[in-house]
Amino acid sequence: MQQAAIHNFLEQFFKANECELIENKNGLLKVKLTVELDKLLTNRPFYWHYIEKTGGVPETMTLTLKTEPAEDKDGELIHFGSPRLHQIFRAAKQLSPYIRLYQETDTKGRFTPLVPWLCINSKVSCQCDLKKDDLLSLGLNLMNGAIVEGFHAHLKQMPLTPKIPDYCYTLTPMIKPVSGLKRLEHFIEGKIKEEDHQWAKQAKMRWQKDLQLLDQFYENETDEDVLNAYIKEKEALKEQYEPKVIVQMINGGLFYLDQSTFL
């Protein structure tokens, strides 16, 4: 992630939280935090506990962040590896797990139905002693069961609003969200099974090989402590090599879209 992209991200992040940007130029970002962000970012639970107990007036902190190294300016230098940026990444995720939005559409004054879609953004990780991730964004049409991949990228292009627009009404889903989630899981499973799992086979072979060596090493042992070590080592090998695909949610929600979308 380039420094300019980081700066842009930070700016968006604080704006989305309605923080006041006191200064924002030449790689310097000075922001007055909101109460919500102060609690997430400044790590002072005792202060907030005190304020809430005593009913005092809170004073939130001001962060000064630098995205360009400049000796003459004070502030915390932010780069891709800096703990602050990762904290903000985590905060963004924490602040937005569930969403519901409506497409703004040109109704021309006529009553217009909006179709419910269930969207999940997930991270799919292949893991053994090595690991790689992939993002999977899926949208499920809760009327007809159609599934669209790369859903998030489509959504980003649309005008969306948290309040249902005038003249629009929502269709009642044919598929309940809870079964929608099952359908999406099923779809993900199918997709994963189609993929090449050479990596998993190789990991199992490594596992098997180390397991054999371990068995030989302990084969004549009878001492209890030593056998406990054997059990631990065996568990360790499982943790080290066992191939797994892990699916984790990033965020998701309900989107009510115009019928013509995805036709």
Binding site: H79, G81, K131, L135, L181, A229
Partner: protein
């Protein structure tokens, strides 16, 4: 285990809350924040099994090619279980930190235990925090084990209760052990403690190559990967011939290279500063010579064995103070009726007669000429104290340095040396973990007989970050035991210019276990100076011819072992 596709695990905790949000109609996230969260995740994913992504997140850390390569090899080829055995000064800590960081970023390691000598706990904590942004915490309170993910402790603390029991309940993903050569004896509590830990990923760091000692090698590797070298019996059968010899060496070496990374200076393709070595021969004054020669009488009178004579002689070459301390102790421990006092008293008188120290004078002259920071290494405390006094008398500021100092005192002495003093006077083992790259002159006031110790001395300054050529001055008093040693190790084997790893290979091939003991044996067992010389020449030529063989082998098989 079957050959079907891997198990698929869904983390479903998200679902439930989502459904309840639908029921309660929110609250819902803000669209901009929602998009940012997805964007953040996109930045954080690791799209490939291969390669390292940690360096990208460490823009302020200057990583060297061999360090990056090592981290990648350990993760991809050794599957996260490895012995890191780089030569001193090549950055093993950096390699370990990089591997740790990579596993943390990939989400393969969360709980990490780092076991290091007590004196290095704080240094590790500071390096991991400042260089790698790894929030590593020195263990001081017992809740730290459970509440912190990355914990640094000494083995001595960790193996005691109540810590031991708490640790065994933690599910560590990665265990890092510094100075792992201290775990060579499988009967010790430390070894058994480490053995009892569950090791998913494990790094053992050592600067001492383990190839020389078959047993130590076996037990160290078995800690890492039990069964990799077979069990104790099958290992002995496969690789041991006779009492100490190795057989099937090529095969063993190949196996070891798959669990051990050993970078050497010469392989790093970096422009290391040169080592410029100068031997300084110092004639003894008449009084000093008189003392040195008189020590022989003790052996002739059978009060001491050959080895003790050698010790006394080496001390006499260092300073009259050093030899005085030992003689005094001998007197104190002597039997009342012993005639020893009659022999020792005249020697004590000779010590009294000495009014100057030729070596110290030479050192003073050299320090004035260098007119820059200098480290003096001596083997003896008494010499260290004397030198400090002597330099002070001559207007040169110096600070002492010993292995026994507490960490904070070591750091303080280092700072004093860097900012306020011209000379640092260190005794043996003073240097573990201390880096003195700002200095590039070393005086070996007396020489250890173990070449590894010499390498560790030089490694304090000839390491990453040294920008100047390093000057090494080896002192030896003329016509004494020191001169023999200097000739052998340092003029004939060219130990200083050559990288120690090479000598190590040679000694392994020749199966010379302890060069220092071999040399000591020559001195003890020889009847005359002539015999000593012949035996030493013999040893030299054996070593040098083996080196030639190794060079030839390397020429023949350009891609030998790594």
């Amino acid at each position: 285990m079957d050959n079907m596709s891997p198990e698929i695990v869904f983390h479903r905790s998200w679902y439930e809350e989502f459904l309840s949000k639908i029921d309660t109609d929110g609250p819902w996230a803000n669209w901009d924040m929602y998009k940012l969260a997805y964007e953040a995740e996109k930045q954080l994913i690791v799209p490939s099994f291969h390669g390292l992504i940690a360096p990208e997140q460490l823009p302020n850390l200057k990583l060297l090619p061999h360090q990056v390569e090592t981290a990648q090899t350990v993760i991809e080829k050794m599957h996260g279980k490895a012995i890191l055995a780089d030569e001193v000064g090549l950055g093993k800590t950096i390699e370990a930190g990089l591997i740790m960081k990579e596993y943390m970023i990939r989400g393969l390691a969360k709980k990490i235990l780092i076991l290091v000598p007590a004196s290095l706990v704080l240094q590790w904590a500071s390096e991991l925090n400042s260089k790698f942004y790894i929030p590593a915490v020195p263990q001081r309170k017992s809740y730290v084990w459970e509440q912190c993910d990355v914990v640094i402790s000494s083995i001595d603390t960790a193996k005691r209760s109540p810590h031991k029991d708490i640790i065994s309940k933690q599910n560590y993903d990665l265990i890092v052990i510094d100075e792992a050569h201290k775990l060579k004896n499988h009967k010790t509590k430390n070894y058994q403690f480490v053995q009892s830990l569950k090791k998913k990923f494990c790094l053992l760091l050592t600067a001492t190559p383990v190839q020389n000692r078959l047993d130590e090698l076996f037990y160290l590797v078995s800690l890492l990967k039990p069964g990799y070298l077979g069990n104790a019996d099958s290992f002995a059968q496969d690789y041991r011939s006779g009492k100490n010899d190795i057989k099937n060496e090529e095969k063993l070496r190949e196996l070891i290279n798959q669990v051990m990374v050993r970078n050497r200076r010469k392989d790093t393709q970096m422009n290391w500063p040169k080592r410029i070595v100068e031997s300084v021969e110092i004639p003894l004054s008449n009084e000093e010579r008189d003392l040195y020669d008189s020590l022989n009488q003790l052996k002739e009178a059978s009060f001491i064995q050959g080895f003790s004579l050698l010790t006394l002689q080496r001390e006499a070459c260092s300073s009259r103070e050093a030899v005085y301390m030992t003689l005094k102790k001998m007197l104190e421990n002597a039997d009342e009726h012993s005639m020893m006092a009659d022999y020792i008293q005249p020697i004590m008188d000779k010590i009294q007669n000495i009014n100057r120290n030729s070596k110290a004078e030479k050192a003073l002259e050299l320090i004035k000429k260098i007119n820059d920071k200098v480290i003096i290494f001596t083997e003896y405390r008494a010499t260290q104290l004397y030198l400090q006094w002597f330099l002070q008398q001559n207007g040169i500021s110096s600070v002492p340095f010993r292995g026994g100092f507490k960490r904070s005192k070591k750091d303080w002495m280092k700072t004093l040396f860097q900012n306020n003093a011209q000379v640092l006077i260190a005794t043996e083992a003073g240097g573990e973990g201390i880096n003195l790259q700002f200095c590039h002159h070393i005086i070996n006031y007396d020489l250890p007989w173990n070449p590894m110790r010499i390498e560790q001395r030089i490694g304090r300054v000839h390491r990453l970050g040294q920008e100047h050529d390093v000057y090494i001055y080896n002192f030896a008093t003329k016509n004494t035991v020191e001169e023999h040693i200097l000739r052998l190790l340092y003029d004939k084997i060219h130990l200083f210019e050559n990288v120690i790893g090479e000598l190590d290979d040679i000694l392994t091939r020749l199966d010379i276990k302890n060069l220092d003991k071999q040399i000591a044996a020559i001195f003890e067992e020889s009847e005359s100076a002539g015999e000593i010389k012949i035996k030493m020449d013999n040893l030299t030529s054996v070593i040098n011819s083996e080196r030639d063989h190794i060079e030839e082998d390397k020429g023949n098989a350009a891609s030998g072992y790594s």
